[in-house]
């Protein structure tokens, strides 16, 4: 499934995403730096995708299943609590007269 050689496509995607990330984050209001951190943390929990694969794939060893199980658990905690806390924080930011 995975190849053993370096694949330049990945680096290409990484560089573009990193540049885009810099441009987007620079525009985030400093007001929201705390919610930004918990949001990006929740987004990074997308590693759950990898955890799901190693836990559920055909021929997974008991060790892989155990490690994968813990990883799915950790990532789920992060993504659930990350999105919810971000929303809780953002709800509090109200403009004047509200």
């Amino acid at each position: 499934m995975t190849v053993n050689a370096f694949n330049a496509d990945y680096l290409f995607v990484f560089i573009l995403a990193a540049f885009l990330g810099f441009q987007l984050i620079k525009k985030v209001s400093p007001l929201l730096h705390s919610p930004l951190m918990s949001l990006t943390n929740a987004i990074a929990a997308v590693v759950i995708v990898g955890a799901i694969t190693i836990t559920g794939e055909e021929g997974a060893t008991p060790l892989a299943k155990t490690l994968g199980f813990i990883a799915v658990f950790c990532a789920t905690v992060n993504l659930v609590s990350g999105f919810m806390i971000t929303d809780r924080m953002l709800k509090m930011f109200k403009p004047r007269g509200k």
Binding site: T2, V3, A5, Y10, V13, F14, A17, A18, L20, G21, F22, L24, I25, K26, K27, S29, P30, L31, L32, H33, S34, M37, L39, T40, N41, A42, I43, A44, V46, V47, I48, G50, I52, T53, I54, T55, G56, E57, A60, L67, G68, I70, A71, V72, F73, C74, A75, T76, V77, N78, L79, V80, T86, M89, L90, M92, F93, K94, P95, G97
Partner: protein, 464 residues
């Protein structure tokens, strides 16, 4: 079903990008969270329907358990604990990355992968993942005050840390070149974990905003590296976005302290300078009472409040908001001056004040408030110290020389709410306390602000 998988990854990547785009302003930010959530759901469905995935029971149990732990955490967590929660969530995220890397390593521990790209990337990913995990746990322990927030140092620290780092890299490289040496693998993991601890123990509490931002960046980079190892572009994109975010925040924090990354990470700040104070006792400190402060505030036309970590410690944000409401009602223009490193994480003060119902338009950034301070009638410093220290601007010899400060001393008069005359985190003497236009309000921030607010709303007539 298989056709869906690549499209799921593209859709999820796009939604994550939109999510960050909408974070640019409070009015669209919640839409950003929705976009992120939808992106995540699509990504998870995409992972579940892959034809490689055949066993669902463990996945479902882990997800239910994770949600059962995460939901109460999100609902019950007090806003004052946000820095700790952020630190521990980096630990969780990094641990997940490390463990996935470990499982992948054992899967690839065959001679045909020796020295291959996957092995190198996996080793890099695990190094970053495991060290971020323990580093975040230490940051959490410091923020939760399970351990002292002062820097920890021991003789030969740098040499020891360097040796551990070197050993980790050498073993990692050995494993990449010859992955069949599985007996070395636990040593690699243990060393990476140890290195994470060593990295954060010498860093003091006031540098936590930078450290948390850096760990955020590391966690993102580790996720991205995992994307390289697994050949998953969605992980590369999400990790790069997270990595970029943490990196920019760390840069903002460093700039706000006029320090370099290296200085934050290896400076051992906050312990060196502690002995400088003393011998200046002839200077006069003027103190005032809550009534006197209330009277001056009431007669002001513009007031700038400068909160610092002390406000968070005293949990004074709700009383500060009462003060804001009382003054606004009397027609006083009140603004809050927010220093980027005030508190224990980026944006800490904003969240606390927003929670206490202060409208976000009143929360003004360092660069925007300084030109306004000379026109302000009163500046009220609540639990801030180093961020308002004029010696950063005036004294090139000062340990914080060059650090951008909120120029509270330029206001017509200054009130400082402070428990005692003890020095701040950096242990540096603060001349603002001795200025002729400064009055000290000694006491607990919450009680003091509360009594000023009470004086103001209790019908100011009694004061005259």
């Amino acid at each position: 079903m298989g056709v869906f998988v690549p499209f799921a990854a593209i859709a999820a990547s796009a939604l994550f990008i939109l999510s960050l785009m909408w974070m640019s302003h409070p009015s669209t930010a919640r839409r950003g969270v929705r976009a992120g959530e939808i992106g995540m759901v699509i990504a998870i469905i995409g992972a579940l329907v892959q034809h490689e995935v055949v066993n669902y029971d463990l996945i479902i149990i882990a997800m239910i358990a994770g949600a059962a732990a995460g939901i109460p955490m999100a609902l019950l967590m007090p806003m004052t604990a946000i820095p700790q929660r952020t630190a521990i969530s980096h630990a969780f995220g990094a641990l997940a990355v490390g463990l996935i890397g470990a499982a992948e390593y054992y899967k690839h521990a065959h001679p045909e992968y020796a020295g291959g790209f996957i092995m190198w990337v996996l080793m890099f990913e695990m190094l970053l993942g495991f060290l971020t995990c323990t580093a975040s746990v230490v940051a959490f322990a410091k923020l939760q005050e399970l351990m002292g927030s002062r820097p920890v140092s021991f003789p030969g620290q740098r040499i020891f840390n360097g040796a551990v780092a070197l050993a980790t890299v050498v073993i990692g490289a050995t494993l990449a070149i010859d992955p069949t040496q599985t007996w070395l693998f636990p040593a690699f993991v243990a060393l990476a974990l140890l290195f994470g601890i060593l990295l954060v123990i010498p860093i003091g509490g006031a540098d936590m905003p930078t450290v948390i931002a850096l760990l955020n960046s590391y966690a993102g980079l580790a996720a991205s590296a995992m994307g390289f190892a697994l050949g998953n572009k969605l992980l590369i994109v999400a990790g790069a976005l997270d990595g970029a975010s943490g990196f920019i925040l760390a840069l903002v924090m460093c700039k706000a302290m006029n320090r370099s990354f290296a200085n934050v990470m290896f400076g051992g700040f906050g312990k060196v300078i502690a002995g400088v104070t003393g011998g200046k006792d002839d200077r006069v400190v003027r103190s005032a009472s809550a009534e006197e402060a209330a009277m001056q505030l009431e007669n002001a036309s513009s007031v700038v409040i400068i909160p610092g970590y002390g406000m968070a410690v005293a949990q004074a944000q709700h009383k500060v908001s009462e003060l804001y409401q009382a003054l606004t009602k009397k027609g006083v223009d009140v603004k809050f001056a927010i220093h980027p490193v005030a508190g224990r994480m980026p944006g800490h003060m904003n969240v606390l004040l927003a929670e206490a119902n202060v409208p976000y338009e009143q929360l003004v950034n360092l660069d925007d408030i300084n030109p306004e301070l000379p026109q302000a009638d009163v500046a009220v410093i609540i639990g801030a110290n180093d961020t308002v220290n004029p010696s950063a601007r005036d004294d090139p010899q000062s340990a914080i020389a060059g650090m951008p400060i909120i120029e509270a001393d330029r206001a017509k008069s200054v009130f400082v709410i402070k428990r005692s005359m003890n020095a701040g985190f950096a242990g540096i003497d603060n001349p603002i306390y001795y200025n002729s236009n400064t009055q000290m309000l000694f006491g607990d921030a919450k009680d003091m602000v509360g009594s000023i607010a009470k004086e103001l709303s209790g019908g100011g007539s009694g004061l005259h």
